[in-house]
């Protein structure tokens, strides 16, 4: 394994009964980069993280974290790893300081080193002045910050962050995204899972898109966008059922794909300026009236839509 790679995942498989949660996932992340795993709920991201955290043993395949095998050297993996789980995994009846102290001990810190590091982490997450309050009294955003702080205690070389911004307010979300970038700037490798396309796009150099347990695309943002060409995505709503126009719109010049979902029609076109008048004309012929239009330049959402036929948020 080359020294520049922090994470090297090779053909991971994991099933739960008849359900194949992860099927042949492979990717590599370089040291000091933020690598995003992007995919909707149920795509297999958390199962992949669980295997890379040594919580689940893969049925097949292996992965190396800073050179330590998740199969053969689990303690080695855990010693270089910090995990921020999707859930708030804290003791709510303990204070922030008590939580950090306990978790620090679990990472092998003791005595003065532990106290010093707890103080540092409280400072990093901005909770020094409220360290003596029980976590149960914190807001969701503050809990998220402590949740992240726990993973930083032993200064890990690699951090997994499993959808850390789920269910929090925009301000806390902004703080977390900033802190992820700060971790990268400190030389840590971050494996970041999310189903928010814009987070992956903002944070990561490399992105892997997962769906139904499989990795369907991987690369830089530009490389992924190129997969769908220069197509523009147009979201429209009609005053009638979308089925009335769907077939007609698929035959409009410049339209490559028409997807009707939840009352909204998504149309992928090469040039919106050319296609939109034709779409209006076609709608009029079918006695349908377009009530709203949202034009989006190619992005990861478009890529996912192109590759799966479904919107990423679903």
């Amino acid at each position: 394994m080359p020294n520049s790679l922090a994470i090297e995942v090779s053909d991971l498989h994991r099933s739960f009964g008849d359900t194949k949660a992860v099927q042949g996932v492979s990717f590599e992340a370089e040291q000091g980069e933020i690598f995003s795993l992007l995919g909707p709920n149920g795509a297999g991201k958390t199962t992949t993280i669980s295997m890379l955290s040594c919580l689940l043993r893969p049925d097949e395949g292996d992965a190396y974290i800073m050179g330590h095998s998740i199969k053969d050297d689990q303690m080695g993996v855990k010693s270089v790893l910090g995990v921020v789980p999707q859930e708030i995994a804290l003791y709510e009846d303990l204070t922030a300081r008590e939580n950090l102290t306990f978790w620090g001990k679990m990472y092998g810190l003791r005595g003065a080193d532990l106290k010093k590091r707890v103080d540092e982490v409280l400072d990093i997450i901005g909770l020094s002045d409220r360290a003596k309050e029980r976590v149960s009294k914190y807001s969701g955003g503050m809990k998220r910050r402590v949740n992240i702080g726990v993973a930083l205690l032993h200064k890990p070389k690699v951090i997994y962050m499993d959808e850390p911004t789920v269910g929090i307010d925009p301000q806390s979300r902004r703080n977390i995204l900033d802190s992820v970038v700060a971790l990268k700037d400190q030389g840590m490798t971050v494996l970041y899972t999310t189903h928010y396309m814009e987070e992956a796009q903002e944070l990561s150099k490399h992105i892997a898109i997962m769906d139904h347990g499989k990795m369907i695309a991987s690369g830089t943002h530009n490389e992924l966008v190129k997969l769908v060409g220069q197509q523009t995505r147009i979201n429209l709503t009609l005053d009638v059922s979308a089925n009335l126009v769907q077939d007609a719109w698929e035959s409009v010049d410049g339209v490559s794909q028409v997807i009707a979902e939840n009352g909204t029609i998504t149309v992928l076109v090469k040039d919106s300026n050319e296609s939109l008048p034709l779409l209006f004309e076609s709608a009029s012929r079918h006695s349908a009236r377009i009530t709203s239009i949202d034009i989006m330049e190619p992005n990861l959402e478009t890529v996912f839509l192109h590759l799966t036929g479904r919107a990423l948020r679903d």
Partner: protein, 434 residues
Amino acid sequence: MKILDIALKDMLRSFRSFFAVVFMFIVPLLVTGMFYFMFGNIADGGEFNLPRTKVIIANLDEGGPKFQVDTDNIPGGESADSMGDLIVSIMESEEMSALIAPTYAESAEIARKAVDSQDAQVAIIIPADFSDEFADIYGKAAIEFYQDPTLTLGPGIMRSIMNRFMDGMSGVKIALTLFLEDAPPEDAALVGQVVQQYLHLSLAQEDDIETELLDVRTPTNAQENKAEQSENLLLSIISPIMGGMMVFYAFFTGSSTAQSILKEEEEFTLQRIFTTPTSQTTILGGKLLAVFMTVSVQVTVLLIAARLLFNIEWGALPSVILAALGIIFSASSFGIFLNSFLKDSKQGGVLFGGLLTITGMIGMIGALAGDSPVARKLSNSVSLFVPQGWALRGLTQAMSGAEISALLITALVLLAWSTAFFAIGTWRFTKRFA
């Protein structure tokens, strides 16, 4: 070290839980306390709280020439010129003041009316010839005792006092009889001196002459004996209850603390610990150690608190320690065993509401059913089908003063239960988190 860190963290969480603390300490002591106060007034620190009996005395005794006693030797004071005065002075003594509240009537009729109108509970009517009859060898000295027929306790005490007095005077009467049988008639005038001599001789060594004469302390002695008996009765009631409560709630704590394994899994903190460089053995070991430590603290606190609050005698220290260890190990391992079969903590309701309560009640049959032969039979048979029964048996043996050797069989049985529970429980948890 990490194993202790995990255990201490779990203990801290347990003792911060209001719910847990209530069921660990407050409820067992509260239930026992209820019984203590329910039955405690019979002892109440060894003092009677009986109301003073209202006694009205009609002292009509006129004394007599045959009754010439040096008043210095008459118990009760200097004003006793007759046997009637002697009785009155006794009634007015300090020792009697806690028991009776005497008032006086000028005639027997007034005294009886006072009782009839319930102004007094007892009337003591001393006839005019009481001293004369007492001094006469053939005389019959009698006091009229008139009481409210609806009352028993107060008049009963008074009757006891008067009987005691009259018994004491009977000794004097016998002495007089013997003296006068052989004495010439003119010596009858010496009756007073004979009484004086009798009193002098019989009371010479007594500091508390009233006590000797009337045995005024009889009610007090009875009170002390009764208080002692009441205290013993109280302890015999609440000691097994406290023991039963301790066993029941120790098993409750064992199960609820062991449930933290399931709760931590649901809170995702257990999985997070598994992502740290900490072995599975250490993690599970810490969780299990927390159960033992928490139950240990609970049992120790309850033993000490019950001793201090209710004065419960737990027995010889080595026996108590062995019995306590039996409770701790069986309660902890039983909790681990039961929780290992649960899918999640929601099923804990079934555990606590059902299995734990039922087995706990079976184990406590002996403590709940009292001291009847049926209860003893049940506690020696049915209750021993569950670990709580054996745990309570050990504690009961220690309380009854059994030596440590007598507890060995119970301890060995509990050890066997505990080993089996612990082995199965840890095996299942290890398999679950493998």
